[in-house]
Each structure stands twice: as C-alpha cells, then as structure tokens.
C-alpha cells in the first residue's frame, strides 16, 4: 500500500471518528433527561403513545375545520368587504393593512402546522421503550412546534379583533359624515 493510500484511509477513519464524537456530544447536549424521567417514559410508554396518537388525530380535525373558517374569513368576508369599501370610493387602507397581517399569520399557521404534524408523527414513530431519550427529544420538538401553531392562532384572533374594531370605527365615521352632510 502506498503512503498516499494509507493517508487516505487514515483521514477517512479520522473523519468518521470525529463525526461520531460530534453526534454523541450533540445528543448529550440536546437531552437533559434524568434517569428517573427515562424510567417514567418506559413505564408510561403505552399511555403516552396513545395520548400522542389521539392528539395527532384531534389536531388534524382542528386544522381542517378551523383552517376552513380562517381561510373563508379572509376570502369570503375580509377581501370582499375591502373591495366593497373601495368600490364606494371610501378609504379601505386600515382594513387592507389588517387583512394583510391576517393573511401573513394564516401563512405562518399553515407552514408551522406542517412542521408540527411532521414532528409529532416522528415522535409517534419512536420506540419509547428502546429509545426513551430520543422519544423525549422528539416530543419536546413537537411541543415547541405546537406552541408556535398556538401563537399563530392567537395572532389570527387578534387580527380578527382589530378588523372588528376598525369596522366599528369605520361605521362611526361613515354615519358621522352622512349626518354632517
């Protein structure tokens, strides 16, 4: 074997060894799971899995039903009303601004839900008896994704409230203008 070949083999082995060390250290950093928690994961493995599966299904239903309403509010109500206001030669900039914010929150909701569902499915697929630490990590990731989805829902509801208060303001101004004329 030439020196070049020996060097190549040594370099490859070193690279593999270093990668394994990095992966092991990364795992050690990401998981702050105590022995007691590992024991409890193993004990409650079946019930935890059942809870996750139930949550997976109920959240999917929530995504479908709520998603439809959120989308329809934007398309069938907000956009239509904004158009009607503009068609009557009135200022709709406040409504358009709130609608844009609402649509951005809706986009975030869609993309965050995809990630959440993928991570929850991954957590369900982990064998919690054999890999309790991986299970804990996977559930932790799914949990933080779910919090993001909830935050998007809060933003959507806030935008709905803002639109509603803008509507009241708009109505008051419109009536005041008509009275003064």
């Amino acid at each position: 074997m030439t020196i070049f070949k020996k060097l190549t083999v040594i370099s490859l082995l070193s690279a593999i060894l270093l990668s394994l060390i990095f992966i092991a250290s990364a795992r050690a950093v990401s998981s702050n799971v105590t022995d007691q928690q590992i024991q409890r994961i193993r004990e409650n493995c079946l019930s935890a899995k059942a809870t996750l599966k139930q949550l997976h299904a109920s959240d999917a239903l929530l995504r479908v039903n709520r998603g439809q309403i959120y989308e329809s509010i934007s398309i069938k109500l907000m956009s239509k009303f904004n158009g009607r206001v503009a068609n009557n030669g009135l200022d709709n900039s406040t409504f358009v601004s709130v609608t844009n914010r609402y649509n951005l929150a809706l986009d975030d909701f869609r993309s965050h839900y995809i990630k959440y569902e993928e991570h929850l499915s991954a957590a369900i697929a982990v064998d919690c008896l054999k890999q309790p630490v991986s299970f804990y990590d996977a559930v932790s990731v799914a949990n933080s994704d779910r919090i993001k989805v909830h935050s998007d829902i809060t933003k959507l509801n806030q935008a709905i409230d803002q639109y509603r208060s803008s509507l009241t303001q708009f109505e008051n101004n419109l009536l005041a203008d008509k009275e003064s004329n």
């Binding site: 928690q37 299904a57 069938k76 009536l175």
Partner: protein, 126 residues
C-alpha cells in the same frame, strides 16, 4: 452450416433488440417510481398530507370534519356602503369569529405534549 449462420445472425443483434421486452418493463417501473416519488414529495411538501383525513391514523375523527361550507355565507363585494350593509357584514363576521373563539385551538395549560401531561414528569414542563 445453416445452424452456424442462424447463431451468427442471433449474435449480431444488439443487446437492446434481444432484451427489448425486459428493457420496456424495467423502463416502465423506473418511470412510475420517479412519478410516485415526485407526487409523494408534492403531497407531503404542500401540506395536503396534513389535511387528508382519509389517512389511517384519522379514522376516529373523519366523520367530524366539516364537509363544504354550507353555513359560511359570502359577503358581496358589490353594492352601496351604508348602515344596512355594515350591519349585514357584522352579522356574518361575528358569527364566524364567535365559532373560532369558542375553543382555545392548539392551546391548553399545561400543554398536552408537556412531560407533565404525558406522565413523564411530576412538576417541570418542557
């Protein structure tokens, strides 16, 4: 002599000619595999997979999905803008927003995915 001539003709045929049917089947399988991979990538990446309640894991909730939007009335973008038009919009808007706020979607305290809820931990939350 005649047999040698036949063998010679057979050998002269290209690999493609000799195995055309096998190549056709292999090509078909490869093309269909590529198409399936592309379509599955689109199905998963577009978010359609998350909305598809026909998947096996969603059997229990499938019947509860709202089919169509029969009770969602669209607002007309054409017409005058007066008190009556605004009241009509308010009615439609409030009806839907009330539905959305009835339940704290994707909320819950503690979170259903927290270690406490899953029985992993007694006190700490993720």
């Amino acid at each position: 002599m005649e047999a040698n001539k036949t063998n010679s003709i057979y050998d002269d045929r290209s690999f493609k000619d000799r195995h055309s049917f096998l190549l056709f089947i292999t090509g078909s399988i490869l093309v269909s595999t590529v198409i399936v991979v592309i379509s599955m990538t689109m199905y998963n990446g577009s978010g359609a997979a998350q909305l598809d309640l026909s998947r096996p894991g969603y059997v229990s909730v499938r019947s509860q999905a709202i089919e169509g939007e029969s009770d969602f009335q669209s607002y007309s973008s054409v017409g005058t803008m007066d008190k009556e038009a605004i009241d009509s919009f308010k009615k439609l808007f409030d009806k839907q927003s009330k539905k959305l706020k009835a339940v704290d979607a994707f909320g819950g305290s503690p979170s259903p995915l927290s270690p406490v809820s899953l029985g992993i931990d007694d006190q700490t939350a993720l």
